[in-house]
Structures are given as C-alpha cells and as structure tokens.
Amino acid sequence: MNRYQEELQRLEQAHLTRSLKTSVRGESATIRGEGDTLVDFSSNDYLGLSRHPRLIETAIRATERYGVGSGASRLISGTSPAHAECEEVVAECKQAESALLFANGYMTALGVLTSLCSKDDVIILDKLAHACLIDGARASGARMRVFPHNNVNRLEALLKSERERLSAGAQIIIVIESVYSMDGDLCPLAEIVRLKNEYGALLLMDEAHGLGVLGPCGMGLAEELGLQDEVELQMGTLGKAAGGAGGYIACSRLLRDMMVNKARSLIFTTAPPPAQAAVAAASFDLMRSAQDLRSRLTSFREYVSQALGGIDVPSAICPIIIGENGAALAASTHLRDAGFVVPAVRYPTVPRGSARLRLTLSAAHTMEQVAQVIELVQLELVRIQRG
C-alpha cells in the first residue's frame, strides 16, 4: 500500500492529483455542486441537447417500453429494435452503408481498431489523437507509427515507408480526429484523404467534437467538406453534442460485420440500454435541423475570437495555454471562485509545459455568460503575465 501512497504524493507535489466532483447539470449551462451554482464552460454538451425536452421524453418512453437494461450482450439477446433503428439513422445521416453502436466512445475505438488490425498491419496516428485511439491501436497489436500533429508531409513519409515495407495483404489505417479535443483545431482532412487514396490506406476519423457543431446538418467536418464518402470509418460519440451517451462507427457492411464478429468491446459486454439508443436516434434527428443552435454557437465563437485578439476558434473548444500546471490550476480555481467552471488540463492529458484552461462553448450559454468569462480569463492572463 505504501507504493500507492507514495505515487499519490508524487502526483500531488507535481499538481497532478485528480479527484471526482459531484455536480448536477442545470439550465442555461449551469451546474450545481458543492453548495454553489456555477456557469459551466467545461461541458461537451455543445448544443445544449442533454436537457432537451424531446430527448428526455424519448428516454422516458423507451425506458417504459424496453426497461432500464438490455440484459445481455448485443450478440446474445441484447439487441433491441431501438439499437437497430438507431444504427439505421446514424448510417443514413453519415451517408454510410451501415453503423454500429457501442457503449461509449472509448469502447468504440477499442473495438474498431482491435477487430480490423493485427500484428501484420500498421496504424498511423496523429500525435494528438485521443487516448482511446492510442489504447485501441496498442491493444490491436499492430505496428504503431505517429506523425506530428496535422503534419501531412510526415504522414506521407510514413505512408510511403510503410507501404514499401508491408506485404500485399497488410492493412494501413490512418487515425485522426476531425476536431482535436484539447486544442480545438481541425485536421487537414482533404489532404489526408488524398494521401489515404494514394497509398491505399483506410481512414478512421473520430468526429467526437465535430458532430453537431460542423457541417450544414451538423454531421461533422466530413460533411462540411463533402468528404463523407472518403472516410471509411466515421467514428463519433453520442455523449457530447448529441446530449446522451454511447459511441458509434459508420462504415461499410463488410467492416461492420468484421466488428460484430471480432470486436471484444462489443461482444463481451452488456449492450447499452435501449433508451440510450432511442435517445441517440432522436438526437441525430434534432441535430440535423439544429441550424439555429449551430448559428448561435458560431456567434459565440466569433465573439471569443474577436475578444481574444482575433485568434482562430474553428470549433467549440477554445484552449488558453498557461504553461505551468500550478498556474493553470490557480487560474481555474480563481474562475471557479467567481462562478465559472473552466477546467485546467494538465500533463499527461496535454504535453508537459502546455497546461491550459480548456474553455468550451455551448449554444446553451447566454451572451452575457460568454462575455463575462472572457473578461475573467483576460484578467487572469494579465495577472499571470505580471507574475
């Protein structure tokens, strides 16, 4: 036990201790916890759908109809009509042949990569790919290569060298995100698609932070650029802009069949509750027609961009780099004291020395809330600069 105590003490000394905090989500992007009501700039509920009355009603009705649990794995008897219907809706929205639901985004990444890759294959990841994609790649046993963030030249060099080295039947999968979760920037999708086609690779793109936010119908960056047909594995989560919970992959029937037969994170776990799938289906329907919410979010992004000196805010995520862990934590604490939740993100979630405030915008915010948090951020930055 001493080893664990020492490890926790070491984390504490490095300002890296994490803890769980209980809170209740309220309206107008507020959360209540620890005796306080705070304005939440930490949530990934980009459209504010987590409290949408239609989704709540859908959850209630589906629960009444199917019960609270699925009772078994998807492959045993856990696949309900709600799961099947949701997969049809997702496939249609993503313009794919089929789709497959998982319990969450992490399980999706794990299931997809482990079922499609083995030790003879290669997975090439962006340096800033999410931990679930890295873990999935590791678990697959495939050779892992990493290219610097959004560096298509290095990606091409890797593709070239791996294609020359690999046997004919081996598979290369490029793994990227449409919107990077800690930096909020977008991937150069068009260039990556070109490289993918040139070197005969498959492309897995996680739209976790693009879904609902980007694209005319909110289907993400691939839709925005008209490249949905070019992304063989369109992954996403249902717990962010979609407002509920779960993960999905939209792909060809062939790839889906592979996952159904080989994805251990699908096979060896109880299926997500049918209500979760029913909510996801309704949420996709809502997101498709939520132009007003996306327009509101865009207005907030424009405001933040202008207020912070014209910086680029291409998504709902606005990182404010502080540097040291302690300073980032202090800034986050000060904002919390003033009534705003803007979390500090530290190593190992982000590289050492780039601890930051991660401010996420939502259509559920008010303009006043956005203006106030930006003023506070500015005051914090001035304070830090002054030392």
Binding site: E27, D36, I321, I322, D337, A338, T366, A371, E375, L376
Partner: protein
C-alpha cells in the same frame, strides 16, 4: 488557440453587454398546503424545470470600452457618496474608508441580517405562513397573500433577490413569532458578529426612528452573510421566478446591477429609502482575493453602481 503572449494584443477589459437578457435561474414551484418535508435547499428541487428557457439574448460584437473612473491623488477612485468602505472579509481589515463609522439608515441592506437570523433559528425547509400584516407593507413587495405558506429557503431567496418587504415581515413573524421578537434576535445577532454601532427596529429596513447602522457594520454583516453557503448562493442569483400558491409566476431580476457589470462580482444587497439614499453592499472575488464594498447614501442609482464598481475593481484589479 490563445497563447499568453497574445493577450496584450487585445483589450484588457471586456464588459458584459448590458442590453442582453439575463441568465435564467431555476424556478421552484410551491403549492399551498404542501406538507413540510425534508428539503436540502442546496440541492436542485425535484420541481426545477428540466428544459431551457427560450434564449433571446442578442449578439453584439463590439465590446464596451474598459471601465474608467476618476481617481484621487491617493489613487483611490473618487467617490461622492457620504459613507463608503472597502473591506477584506478574510483578514477583517479595512482597506479604504470614508465616514465608515457614521451612523445612518442602511435601508434594505439590513435584510442580510434578517436572512442570517432566519438561517440561525430555523431549518430552511420549514414552511412559513404569510401573516396579514405583511400584506400591508409597501413599497417593494411580492404581493404574497395572507395565509399562503412557503418554505423558508424560498422566501430567503426572494428576500435577497427581490428585496421584498412583505417577505421580510413574513420571515420575521414566522421565525420568531412576532416582529418585535425577531428584531430582538436581530440586535442580539448583530452584537455577536461585532456590529457595535447598529440598532435595528424592523426586519426590512424601511425608515424608522432610532434604526441605524454604519458602512463598517454593514461590511461585517456582509462578511458574515457570505460565510453562509445558502445566503452566498442566494445573493448571486441574477434572476428568479417566484411562483405564488395560486400558480401565478412572477419573474424578477436581482436589484444588484454589479452582478452584470463585473464578472467576478458574486452578489450582496441593495437598499433605498428617502432617509438612507441609495445603498449597496457588494462582494467580489478575483485571483484568490475577496473584497466587500459598501456604499451608503448615494444620490442616484448611476452614482451608486459606478462608485461601487470603481471601488471593487480598484480593490481587486488595482
């Protein structure tokens, strides 16, 4: 992505846009005759609405210029109000004051004491009945009906957000049995927290001969109120719906405009009578520092909020 260095390329102070509609807060629905039950006032009510209200704020991308206010030779903002104080509630030190010990009427800022006494004497989930006498009070009121019953936590929130006098009287009567008994409790509590130059004669702050306090004492009162977690939550509530027993809902905004003018202002209490002038106790917290500003006797609302904002910003931003 924003790096630290780029911040100096932009304006240092962005102001909230005053024309915007304000944050909607949770409404609590209470029905007449509902039996008392154990309610944690800090927890969300099961009757809280679970959907968002229609969002109708407007977008405006031109930020207002940074707040500027004339300063005296000592660097402190120049204020005209007859009695002011800037106070550090943690160290209990006075940072700046002018006539802070002068006895004066403090109007509804003394409702903070009403709230504290009520919190000390009764569980906040207790239901309290509106006495007939409460309905006779003017001017600021919620028009609660005689005989209606509300939980104390609901009345306390309305008391500090709306500053309703009928609610203050209802609380006093319900908590101590009579107005006079409650006033005794108020004075006793005031002495306990060090308010040595104060004497209270009613729970609402309407003008009454022999009722007075000082800016310093109000700062002590605000300091005590801010230590109470429930009052702390109430005073920063920007807007609330009060649902009467008959289902009629009234929406009102917090009378403390600093909540919308300064992002780190976390609340407190206004007060106005002819005798007291315009009064405000406000509190802000920035970068780990907390300051209370009390301004008493301002001539206009503009002067009151401008001077309070200037002092709060000066004390925390420098």
């Amino acid at each position: 992505m924003l790096n630290l260095g780029s911040i100096f390329h932009c304006k240092l102070s962005m102001r909230a846009l005053s024309s915007l509609c304000l944050v909607a807060v949770s409404a609590v629905i209470v029905s007449c005759g509902t039996p008392a039950r154990s309610i944690d006032p800090m927890a969300p009510s099961p009757m809280d609405p679970i959907v968002q209200k229609p969002i109708n704020d407007q977008f405006e991308f031109k930020p207002k210029p940074a707040f500027q206010y004339p300063r005296g030779v000592d660097g402190v903002p120049y204020t005209k109000s007859p009695s002011v104080i800037v106070f550090d509630p943690r160290s209990q030190q006075v940072i700046y004051e002018r006539n802070a010990h002068e006895k004066r009427a403090v109007a509804s800022t003394q409702k903070l004491l009403t709230a504290l006494v009520a919190r000390a004497k009764n569980p906040t989930d207790r239901y309290i009945e509106v006495p007939y006498e409460a309905t006779l009070l003017e001017p600021s009121k919620l028009y609660v009906k005689s005989g209606a019953r509300y939980p104390l936590y609901y009345l306390l929130k309305s008391l500090v957000v709306k500053s309703a006098n009928d609610v203050a009287y209802t609380i006093a009567h319900g908590v101590s049995g009579s107005k006079n008994a409650f006033v005794n409790d108020m004075n006793q509590y005031a002495r306990q927290i060090g308010m040595r130059n104060s004497h209270f004669k009613n729970p609402h702050g309407l003008t009454e001969s022999g009722q007075y306090s000082t800016a310093y004492d109000v700062a002590l009162l605000a300091s005590a109120a801010y230590r109470d977690p429930y009052i702390r939550q109430c005073v920063k509530t920007r807007e609330m719906d009060f649902v009467h027993n008959d289902g009629r809902a009234v929406n009102f905004k917090n009378t403390n405009l600093l909540l919308h003018r300064i992002p780190y202002c976390v609340g407190m209490k206004t007060g106005t009578t002819k005798a007291s002038g315009k009064c405000l106790a406000s509190i802000g917290t920035l970068a780990g520092q907390t300051r209370i500003v009390v301004v008493l006797g301002a001539s206009t609302r503009q002067q009151l909020f401008d001077e309070s904002e200037a002092l709060l910003r000066w004390s925390l931003e420098g």
